[in-house]
């Protein structure tokens, strides 16, 4: 599998660490109602689709950037790659 890095071009997955469902970026804020439920859902109940999955990859053996990769878990085809800090704004 190769990931099309927005800055560095096509890189082998050897260079990356996989972190999981991109919703991990959206950490709940403390002092909310039902915060236990929210953190339980945030940490443990992640998406596990048989199809397009939006996920975090860390370019550890490269430029150490976080990427959001849209990938088909059925075929391993990669649809879209963006820098995670763009998503966070």
């Amino acid at each position: 599998m190769y990931i099309e890095h927005p800055l560095l071009g096509s890189r082998s997955i050897d260079e990356f660490i996989y972190y999981g469902d991109a919703s991990l970026l959206k950490r709940p804020v403390f002092n909310q109602n039902k915060i236990l439920e929210k953190f339980h859902k945030y940490l443990y109940l992640r998406k596990n689709p048989n199809g397009i999955h939006s996920e975090l990859w860390f370019h550890l053996y490269g430029d150490r950037s976080w990427l959001i990769v849209e990938r088909d878990t059925k075929t391993h085809e990669i649809r879209n790659v963006i820098l995670a800090n763009k998503e966070l704004g």
Binding site: M1, S12, I13, D14, Y18, G20, D21, L36, E37, H40, K41, L43, Y44, L45, R46, K47, N48, P49, N50, H53, E55, R71, T73, K74, T75, H76
Partner: protein
């Protein structure tokens, strides 16, 4: 049909014409008391123990494809109970005891071979950790032996003992561990369950659950509607897909695990060996192929095939332990979908719908657990109460914090 020596002798003289089917292929009835979804090892074992131990007489197993073609026929066939945590060891030790009597209870030759599982360690720290694990095993009724280098040299003279980076310092041996012919486990359970009246329905995919007042009334399948009183789900890597039909999200990610088989060799590796400095385990099949594997690829996947980066990593680990592997050619590789739970331990529990039960989250250790998983899941389905060996394998443990994290990795499924 009973398999025995006399039958073998008669059929040998009779040109093997009188063998009957191992199990009967049937069409579904309109109603069953219990439907087990998933005709893998765990599903078939559940059905067998439902019939044999809990006297449930109207049980069906629904399998989307053909039985024995999922992970039960695609693993590295190892059985062992060398766990650390008190929530796990009694369960896996019970499983190992069931393996020991399996062939007799199933009347089927599953080639259970207790050839010993040896975990090698390479540092003083690891010796301490393995000693602790061994003591924990002994305290919980399993067997464990700590071996020094000379004892290992007598068993396996070909390891790279003086490797500058990962010298072999000793190993933890579980003599009762070993391997089992994996396909025969599926066939054996199907045979024995079928003989007790369980219907094994192949090529029958569950499309939807029919729920009324928080209870399941039946399932819509590719072979029509079947009503039932209870449903047990044992679909491993497909658990998230199946349970999403009930709008349920599970603390599970599906990952791909690859396994590898070499060309056939003369007997060389007598038992099961694991490398302590990387993730690598190896044994030799009765056909002579070296069967080995390592880490999962590490990303969500339902593709049932992996990437070459993992292959390279596994082979490097193997070469570090036994350099002679480099002379051996790889014959085939394959990948299966693993239901990686968030703490690395399984879930056998009720769900929010009253009469549906869940058996999932086996990560890549489901094969060795097959008999105990089937037994305890059958107990849960039949009595509605968890068997004492699985009382900690709850779905709620992620919420209340009582997780069973054997490796201490936290909520990172690709590291378990």
């Amino acid at each position: 049909m009973n398999y025995n020596f006399l039958k073998l002798l008669i059929e040998g003289l009779n040109n093997n014409k009188g063998w009957l089917k191992t199990w009967e292929n049937v069409n579904p009835k309109k109603h069953y008391d219990i439907i087990v979804i998933g005709g893998g090892g765990h599903g078939l074992a559940t059905a067998f123990y439902l019939a044999s131990e809990y006297k449930e007489m109207n049980v069906a197993v629904l399998e989307r494809g053909d039985i024995g073609l999922g992970n039960v026929g695609r693993n590295t066939t190892i059985i062992r109970s060398n766990y650390l945590l008190k929530e796990n060891i009694p369960f896996y030790e019970f499983s190992l005891k069931l393996w020991e009597g399996l062939e007799k209870s199933l009347n089927y030759n599953a080639m259970v071979s207790q050839r010993g599982v040896l975990n090698i360690f390479h540092s003083d720290y690891q010796r301490d950790a393995y000693t602790r694990r061994g003591n924990s095993m002994i305290l919980n009724g399993a067997d464990a032996e700590l071996l020094n280098v000379d004892e290992i040299k007598r068993m396996y003279p070909f390891f790279d003992y003086d490797n500058a980076r990962f010298p072999v310092k000793g190993g933890l041996l579980q003599r009762r561990g070993g391997t089992v012919r994996h396909d025969a486990v599926a066939w054996g359970y199907a045979h024995a369950a079928n003989k007790l009246g369980v219907d094994i329905i192949q090529n029958c995919e569950v499309i939807n659950f029919r729920i009324k007042k928080n209870k399941v009334e039946g399932v819509d399948t590719s072979k029509g509607y079947i009503s039932c009183k209870k449903v047990g789900c044992a679909v491993a890597g497909s658990s998230s897909i199946l349970l999403s039909k009930l709008n349920m999200q599970l603390p599970i990610e599906s990952h791909v695990l690859q396994a590898f088989v070499s060309e056939s060799l003369k007997p060389v590796i007598s038992g099961v060996v694991t490398f302590g400095a990387g993730h690598f385990y190896i044994s030799q099949s009765n056909k002579g192929g070296l069967v080995f594997g390592g880490d999962i690829d590490g990303y969500n996947s339902y593709a049932q095939r992996g990437n070459l980066a993992t292959l390279e990593d596994v082979c490097e680990s193997g070469m570090a332990l036994m350099p002679m592997l480099g002379n051996c050619r790889l014959l085939r590789t394959w990948g299966g979908t693993m239901d990686m739970s968030m703490d690395g331990s399984p879930i056998i529990d009720k769900i929010h719908i009253k009469n549906i039960f869940l058996n999932a989250g086996w990560c890549y250790g489901g094969f060795k657990a097959t008999p105990a998983s089937g037994w305890c899941f059958a107990h849960l389905i039949s009595t509605g109460k968890p068997h004492k060996l699985i009382s900690d394998f709850t779905l709620n443990r992620f919420y209340d914090g009582s997780i069973i994290d054997e490796k201490g990795q936290g909520a990172q499924p690709n590291l378990h």
